[in-house]
């Protein structure tokens, strides 16, 4: 009697395992579904053009990045990577792609300065920021992280620790991929092109 239950349970486990493996590791699915449904979504911020929402860009592939302008290394690297990937697209494709640099440091970074900063790397990268509570809500929404750190021993005054990821939003507005900030631009270009 017991053996029959045991074998049934094992058999079920094998079938379940096979099914899960197929679902998780299927090349069609960039992220496991449980992660995909819990983070991402629409938000509203301020840019040099006024109020903007992520849903304004439905139909485009959007690369969202959280950073701050007083970041000398990681953020310029991320912008450089995004700019280079965009340049590898055709002019028509470029119009369907945009980078969105969200500053978590509105005290120092104004929408006007953000615009000049991002446009330097590509005319398809835009900047936005908001109030600290607005930023906090979006950071949480995307499973990102940032933290102000006082630096009394530095002329900077303070720095910002932050997760350094490029959040890829598909043309339907869903978070499709979370990429390292220093991903190879050729690979990033391929991931963008897959949606275009």
């Amino acid at each position: 009697m017991r053996n029959w239950i045991l074998f049934s349970a094992l058999g079920l486990a094998v079938v379940a395992g096979a099914y899960l493996s197929f679902e998780l590791f299927s090349p069609k699915t960039p992220l496991p579904r449980y992660a995909q449904s819990s983070i991402g979504g629409d938000f509203t911020l301020r840019s040099v053009d006024g109020e903007i929402s992520l849903s304004d860009y439905l139909g485009e592939v959007v690369m969202v990045y959280f950073g701050f302008m007083s970041c000398p290394d990681v953020c310029p690297t991320s912008m450089g990577v995004m700019g280079t990937a965009i340049k590898q697209l055709s002019p028509a494709q470029q119009q369907k792609v945009r980078g969105l640099f969200i500053s978590v440091d509105p005290q120092r970074d104004t929408p006007e300065e953000l615009h000049a900063y991002t446009q330097y790397f590509s005319d398809r990268i835009f900047g936005a920021t908001g109030t600290q509570p607005q930023i906090d809500a979006i950071i949480k929404q995307y499973g990102a992280y940032y933290s102000f750190v006082p630096m009394e021993d530095s002329a900077l005054g303070y720095t910002v620790d932050h997760s350094a990821r490029i959040y890829l939003i598909d043309p339907q507005g869903n978070l499709a991929d979370v990429l390292a900030h220093d991903i190879n631009p050729v690979e990033l270009h391929e991931r963008l092109a897959a949606y275009l």
């Binding site: 900063y117 992280y145 002329a155 900077l156 991903i183």
Partner: protein, 146 residues
């Protein structure tokens, strides 16, 4: 009797400790509105003594500091450090994502094709002055990509 010996030892140490080579030095071009940039390079200590880079100066920035980045639990953290240790017979790389010389309060925009003066000061009292090129952020990045 001791003084000449000490003087000899001191002289030897100074000569040996200043045996540094700097390669691949570059500063990053940044947007005109940026007030901050970074300089990277490889410092090779050819001597048998450890030495450290303790400070730097440049006419293009109000402050120049030594910083390091570290990624822990997916969080990028940048901190100022007092010195960059240069162990004997080793090369130490200042590169994106890691150690760098931070230029704070840029007095003029750093444009590609220009040069930036940089004076490095070391723990043995020596200095090294150089003019480094300003390069695009993506130059030399390929090696660090994953």
């Amino acid at each position: 009797m001791r003084l000449p010996l000490t003087a000899l030892l001191l002289a030897t140490n100074l000569a040996v400790a200043a045996d540094l080579s700097v390669t691949d030095a570059r500063a990053r071009a940044v947007p005109p509105t940026a007030e901050i940039s970074a300089a990277f390079m490889t410092l090779t200590n050819n001597a048998n003594e450890d030495v450290a880079l303790v400070s730097a100066q440049s006419s293009v920035a109000e402050s120049v500091e030594l910083h390091t980045n570290s990624m822990t639990d997916g969080k990028m953290k940048m901190r100022r450090i007092d010195q960059i240790e240069l162990p004997a017979q080793q090369s130490t790389k200042l590169e994106p994502g890691g150690l760098h010389i931070m230029l704070i309060g840029l007095k003029k925009p750093l444009k590609m094709g220009e040069t930036v003066d940089l004076e490095l000061s070391f723990s043995d009292g020596t200095n090294e002055t150089m003019n480094i090129p300003v390069e695009h952020v993506m130059t030399g990045m390929k090696k660090g990509m994953h």
